[in-house]
Amino acid sequence: MLYHTTLNGEKKKVEIENAGVGRYRMRIDERSFDVDCRFLSDGLYLSLLIDSASYTVETRRAKRPGVWVTRFGGDYLDVTVRDDLEERAAARREEEVAGGPAVLMSPMPGVVVKLSVSEGDLVEEGETVAVVEAMKMQNELGAPRSGRVASIVVTVGEALETRSPIATIEPVEEGE
């Protein structure tokens, strides 16, 4: 079966065949690998032997569809893995979103201690929109895209949950 993968922005196609229980034959570009794969700790870790090289891998689904956060040793990688069908669906989704507004959400539970912009302000991507206090730390939350602040839906002092919406930034037309 063929998969579309993305890692650090680079896309590659990967071909996988089943080669016995827990065994796979994989092809990436011109290279191919034998993979022996077992679960440890009741499925929490994956032990891979890839052409005899041993890796203990942690992996979990990210929030975005088709994305896996994977750890080898000390490093974490975000990898997208999609089959043909999913790849086409994702492409459609991206097209629709590209021109649309983006919502800034709180990445953790906390309390709004400051709003740095007002509705109607123009912001650059990454510019601070709000400051949220959690675990005794003040955290500056930046705009998810450049554009105009279309709405702010929280007030200072308000308690937020993870993924509570804070503000919506809409794109600004060229020459506007």
């Binding site: 229980v21 990436i28 993979v35 896996w68 990898v79 089959d83 906390g110 675990m135």
Partner: protein, 498 residues
């Protein structure tokens, strides 16, 4: 000796203190807020008492409730840990009034060291070097110019009400001073509602070096080597070392003797830390004294072989320090890594949630001081320190190699943490050479550096693909035991599944 000690704290430090109490055969009691009922310190203590709702202002910071609990438990001493009430002299006085020993210095010593201006004055009297500067607010541009000339450029203007790196301006040349003073003053007025400004010498390439000291009630004060704490992000320490790569034997002695002098100035009893800032010319200046156990005390324990919590308790019980200065030897090298529930890939945002699984590193030279366990829900209302990894080896190079190995073994699942940040630090040339200062992280760390390139990319692809592949076969393998056909296959092969 004490029969029962109340540990008025939570998290890893409460667990660590309880360990020493058990080793001393002293009964441990502790306190918990509602949200901390399932916390590790409650399970590890001999006794645990509810002290109020989650927010610390209603529980861990309530002097009245802590003292009442100590009385109710029949504790004859209180160990405050660090943070919360540890440097609160009212708390120390309330304990004394209740006839309970406060494990720490006298309230007078705490007050003196808690007041920056008074502490500075006290140090100057004792010839302990302080950063050259006014010590008093700057009233005019002329005065500023005169003082800047006296201490030598570069100088720093500091808003009295600032802190955490805010309200500070560095001036390299005389010509800049007057306008800089104006600007700093008006910014301070705007930001803090207070335009008081101090001037002092600006220390270039500053290192944060601190000295562990130990005093008793019999006039003995010794020093137990220094700690290098310059790996900081926005004034938060992240990695500490003992010894410092910038300190040799003779400098160590001078630092140590100066710290002892500072401690003697306030008749210090117990364990304390004298913090210095050291410039690239190896001149050092008193910053402040922390009148409590430090988060990073384990690096001193591993190199000196001394259990500092044990020493605190023995001294508080009236014993003399059982060792002389010349009996203190540093052996090898130790590093501490603070494992925080915060995500270095997105601005160190705090993370919270359930630890779905964890694996602590083990083997030679590895110490874990952890305050969490698999299945624990990390609350958001306290500080994000989950655990400390402390690594010892024969020398600094081996300690770095061993630390890399330990971090490679370390795994925490279920919430974001900063393990990858520590791995990054251990790869930086400046860190490896030991040539870094307190600006190191803020100047050189970028979140995107956590995403490595190289041959592991291919492997990551493969792993991810396998996961997808398995998932496709309806194998439920995220965040829980493997189920479904894989489990059945595993059993058939005798490798898993009950």
């Amino acid at each position: 000796m004490f029969q029962k000690i109340l540990v008025a704290n939570r998290g890893e430090i409460a667990v660590r203190i309880i360990r020493t109490l058990r080793e001393l055969n002293i009964r441990s009691a502790t306190v918990y807020s509602d949200i901390d009922r399932p916390s590790l310190h409650v399970a590890r203590a001999d006794e645990a008492y509810r002290i109020g709702p989650g927010p610390s202002a209603e529980s861990y910071l309530r002097i009245d409730r802590v003292i009442d609990t100590a009385k109710r438990a029949g504790a004859d001493a209180i160990h405050p840990g660090y943070g919360f009430l540890a440097e609160n002299s009212d708390f120390a006085r309330a304990a004394a009034d209740a006839g309970i020993t406060f494990i720490g210095p006298s309230p007078e010593a705490m007050d003196m060291m808690g007041n920056k201006v008074a502490a500075r004055r006290c140090m100057v009297e004792r010839d302990v070097p302080v950063i050259p500067g006014t010590g008093e607010p700057v009233e005019s541009a002329e005065e500023a110019a005169r003082q800047a000339e006296a201490v030598g450029y570069p100088v720093m203007l500091k808003a009295a009400a600032g802190g955490g790196g805010k309200g500070i301006r560095v001036i390299h040349e005389k010509e800049e001073l007057s306008s800089a003073l104006e600007r700093t003053r008006s910014e301070a007025a705007k930001a803090f509602g207070d335009d008081t400004i101090f001037l002092e010498k600006y220390i270039e390439n500053p290192r944060h070096i601190e000295v562990q000291i130990l005093g008793d009630g019999h006039g003995n004060v010794i020093y137990l080597g220094e700690r290098e704490c310059s790996v900081q992000r926005r004034f938060q320490k992240l990695i500490e070392e003992c010894p410092s790569a910038a300190v040799d034997e003779s400098l160590r002695r001078r630092l140590g003797e100066t710290a002892v002098e500072a401690a003697r100035a306030v008749s210090y009893e117990g364990a304390g830390t004298v913090e210095f800032v050291m410039g690239k010319d190896r001149k050092f200046y008193f910053l402040e004294m922390n009148t409590r156990l430090q988060v990073e005390h384990p690096v001193t324990e591993l190199t000196t072989g001394i259990d500092l919590v044990r020493e605190q308790i023995l001294v508080a019980s009236g014993e003399k320090i059982g060792r002389k200065q010349e009996e203190i030897h540093l052996r090898g090298h130790a590093m501490e890594f603070r494992i925080n529930a915060e995500d270095p890939s997105s601005g160190f945002l705090p993370s919270a949630g359930r630890v779905s699984n964890m694996h602590l590193p083990q083997g030679p030279g590895v110490r874990n001081d952890a305050g969490f366990y698999a299945g624990y829900d990390v609350p958001t209302i306290y500080d994000p320190l989950l655990a400390k990894l402390i690594v010892w080896a024969e020398n600094r190079d081996l300690c770095i190699a061993r630390s890399r190995r330990a971090l490679h073994e370390y795994s925490i699942k279920g919430l974001r943490h900063n393990l990858a940040f520590h791995t990054w630090t251990l790869r930086q040339e400046a860190f490896i050479r030991g040539e870094y200062d307190t600006h190191f992280i803020d100047d050189s760390f970028r979140p995107e550096m956590l995403k490595p390139a190289g041959t592991e990319e291919d492997l990551a692809r493969i792993a991810a693909v396998i996961r997808a592949w398995l998932d496709r076969d309806r194998m439920e393998i995220t965040d829980g035991p493997a189920r479904g056909p894989w489990r059945w296959v595993a059993r058939r092969e005798g490798i898993g599944g009950k």
